[in-house]
Amino acid sequence: MTRLTDLTMAQARDGLAKGEFTSVELTEAHVKAMEAARGLNAYITETPDLALEQAKASDERRRKGEAGAMEGLPVAIKDLFCTKGVRTTAASKILHDFTPPYESTVSDNLLKAGAVSLGKTNLDEFAMGSSNMTSHFGGVTNPWKRRGDDSPLVPGGSSGGSAAAVAARIALGATGTDTGGSIRQPAAFCGIVGIKPTYGRCSRWGTVAFASSLDQAGPMTRTVRDAAIMLGAMAGHDPKDSTSAPMAVPDFEAALTGDIRGLKVGIPKEYRPEGLSDEIAKVWEQGIEWLKAAGAEPVEISLPHTKYALATYYIVAPAEASSNLARYDGVRFGLRVDGKSLDEMYAKTRAEGFGSEVKRRIMIGTYVLSAGYYDAYYAKAQKVRALIAEDFRKAYETVDVILTPTAPSAAFGMGEKMDDPITMYLNDVFTVPTSLAGLPGLSLPAGLNAEGLPLGLQLIGRPFDEETVLKVADVMEQAAGFTARPAGVEG
């Protein structure tokens, strides 16, 4: 029999249903694997006792015939989701000892669906980063290594801990959040599937906010089917979030029909900028071929404002963040550094509590909102954002889904791209437009580069049409036959 940690979520679900093993057994296997893989630093807080307790309760429910959609499946929760009674840090020193007295809607939905939580995964501080290197709790090591090179690579970010945990088989799946690519880029770097659903599909209530108009939770899994299962459990209208869409959650798994004949797939020419690496161009070409072979029709499209997306994002997101992070002031929770006056206490607390990338973004955000600059930066960015969204709207008059690369490169080494913030920001060049337009975007592993590192392709759908995205991804996944495994994870 396959090792329990090697099962997909769908296989584990079926095995539990058939009584081949219990949730306690499945959870114990993962707890053991989690302990063995501590070197990756994928988790900030492991909760093995709680996991086993939940597994026991799950087995009990199953005996009573009350199994939910994720019954007994051990998953990891990005440490940006508030978890009742379990420390939630956002990978920041300022929240290093914060224990929420409430459970985020998304993690609560998972628990209600029967899932077991293994712990809280590492991330870039406040989800700001593309490498997981900005975490107060240290970087995460990507389980993948370059062929013949033992130097550690980053897992991407910000959901780097979640991506690494899923790739390393120390969780069946994990939650991620995506503001400008934080699910899709680490999924690509770690050779797994990650979907950022349409803005409004998953509740933001109880998730530590980065940029409210962009933040979306989504699943990170090893297969498209698993993503469909987990997204179905995470999603749903939440009256506690005013931006949550009052829409029913479709049966995403049922959308995986394997039939994409006649679908028009947009291939945006602006995603082929000068200097795009050959290996990325090649895997994208390969993806187009798979789609053609399955009966879909590639159509060249234009998204003319694409090149302005990154600049737009780096105004909008820091602006919102500068305001969202004002609540970390040392008064009601989190770190406090004493000062002689209230203002001194604020300034010292925030100087010590936030890392340099977070401080940079808060200051940029403060600047672009300040008197005299609002119109030139923030208002301007909001207008360009409208143009970017309009590009997509027009494209969807002719195509059903769009295919692009997920990231401009494969995983890079720890310490690389750290000297200049802009170099790091460029990682998000292909994922940010989708975020600005609020559209669903999925990354799936499409192949390996010459160094043996996974490369991802991104599928972008119409608003609330995750079904088409998942259906196409499922077909591509079959075609890709991606069976490669990270170093140290035996087959």
Partner: protein, 484 residues
């Protein structure tokens, strides 16, 4: 009536605009389900949203929205079908999120008007600039501990309406009249209890002065959080004088925020607010544009109560009251209702005199309120009926009224018990009159020789002998006959 400050260099006028923060009457807060009751234990009416905990999100209270619309309609103002909530960013210990959710360039209510009723019976219009919804902050207490301030977030997130006037007022009296009228309208509408002592209505005064005849506006100062009508008038008076003195001694006014010290009767600069502010307003991404349906506005419009101005017009028209009397009676809705109950089907002028005279007098003397009146409207009406049908005279009525305030009894019961019923039996009055004429032959002779003034003496004697119960008109008539 113009208010002029006579300076050494000439005449100055004062320019006043008021920003009133009115706490919306609602059960729960603007963006959370925590209660809004006044005076609860610290931090007990605080949800995780109000405490600005990580990941908490606002959801707007429909009643607060409706109250703002209702108030806007009551101020004859423009209702904006689309409005936007914005974040006003600043750090303060009692501002948990690090920003206040407010409305900035797209408020829910636009321009409107308030009509001031001045003490001399005249009226004056003051423009409303806007009304917007926003969250209240928590409360900082500075005297609990030698080195610490204590923070209570019970008020954090309570809905406020900020009502901004145009700089249309020209005297402290007008500012006072504005506040009274605004409070009256809010109370009629049931959108704010107007209680300035508990802080459910607070006022910021923007004051500047200018030479008489100048058209532009000079630098203004904002006096924050003044908490009574009297203090508002005092603060403005002091602040205007301060400006004039500074200008006349060659100085300039610095735009700043000031505090009014009621003990000293003066304003002083607020040090904590000296730091330059840059609120970095931007649309709150946790909220979407607030769009009001036409049906909602129409429904609220249809349910509006009669407001003080309309009621005043009606009282003048239907009850033939003077504008002054009508203004006094409608200022408070309960008083107006009380008056209407008393006046209904009776002589309205007499009802107004009784309510504004004996009744208000008794209320003040006994420390009662219109909600807990010394005499019920029904009983006061009955008293008026007893006068009208000649059961008692006006003089006896005053006596009965006093007994009513003491006993709370029905006036007819008091009249019965005390035997105060007016004598209207012609025979009995003739007898009493005859007796007085007989007993005062000398005075009769004087009267007949032309000393007309003595007539009052005879009436007085008859009334005295009948303990005031004789019908005065009949006494007059019969005496005239007897003395002819």
């Amino acid at each position: 009536m113009s208010y002029i400050i006579q300076g050494e260099t000439g005449e100055w006028e004062v320019v006043i605009g008021l920003e009133v923060h009115a706490q919306v009457i609602s059960k729960s807060k603007l963006f959370s389900g925590a209660a809004t009751d006044f005076g609860s234990e610290p931090n007990t009416q605080v949800s995780f949203i109000d405490a600005g905990m990580p990941g908490m999100l606002p959801v707007i209270n429909e009643v607060c929205v409706e109250q703002a619309v209702r108030t806007g309609l009551g101020l004859k103002a423009q209702i904006n079908k689309t409005s936007v909530f914005a974040r006003k960013n600043y750090f303060y210990a009692d501002l948990p999120q690090g920003y206040q959710i407010s409305q900035y360039d797209q408020p829910i209510v636009g321009e409107g008007t308030i009509i001031l009723d001045m003490p001399d019976g005249s009226t004056r219009e003051v423009g409303i600039e806007r009304l917007h919804l926003e969250q209240d902050a928590g409360k900082s207490m500075h005297d609990q501990h030698p080195t610490k301030s204590y923070i209570d977030l019970n008020r954090s997130g309570v809905a406020l309406m900020e009502i901004v006037s145009k700089p249309d007022m020209r005297s402290p009296e007008e500012a006072g009249a504005y506040l009274k009228k605004l409070r009256s309208i809010l109370r009629y509408l049931g959108t704010c209890d107007g209680n300035m002592e508990e802080g459910s209505m607070r006022c910021d005064c923007n004051v500047s002065v200018r030479k008489k005849g100048e058209t532009g506006l000079r630098t203004r100062c904002e006096i924050k959080n003044v908490n009574s009508v009297r203090f508002v008038m005092q603060a403005i008076e002091h602040e205007a004088m301060r400006h004039v003195e500074i200008y006349e001694s060659g100085g300039d006014i610095k735009q700043e925020t000031r505090l009014f010290d009621p003990n000293k009767g003066e304003t002083r600069s607020m040090r904590s607010k000296e730091q330059a502010h840059d609120y970095r307003y931007f649309p709150d991404p946790d909220l979407l544009p607030l769009v009001l349906e036409d049906e909602l506005i129409e429904r609220i419009k249809a349910d509006l109560p009669e407001l003080p101005d309309e009621k005043k017009d009606r009282f003048i028209r239907d009850f033939k009251l003077s504008p002054y009397d009508a203004g006094v009676l409608v200022a408070d809705r309960a008083t107006a209702d009380f008056f209407e109950t008393v006046a209904s089907g009776r002589d309205a002028k007499m009802a107004a005199n009784w309510v504004m005279g004996d009744f208000f007098g008794a209320m003040n003397r006994l420390g009662r309120s219109i909600e807990n009146p010394p005499v019920t409207a029904e009983n006061l009406g009955k008293l008026l009926d007893l006068i009208a049908d000649n059961t008692i005279s006006g003089r006896i009525a005053k006596e009965v009224f006093e007994l009513m305030t003491e006993t709370g009894k029905d006036p007819s019961v008091i009249v019965e018990e005390k035997g105060l019923k007016q004598v209207t039996d012609t025979g009995a009055i003739e007898q009493a009159c005859q007796a007085v004429v007989d007993a005062n032959a000398d005075k009769v002779a004087e009267y007949k020789s032309g000393k007309d003034k003595l007539f009052g003496f005879f009436v007085g004697q008859v009334m005295k002998n009948t303990q005031g119960k004789a019908n005065p008109a009949m006494v007059n008539e019969i005496l005239k006959k007897l003395l002819a």
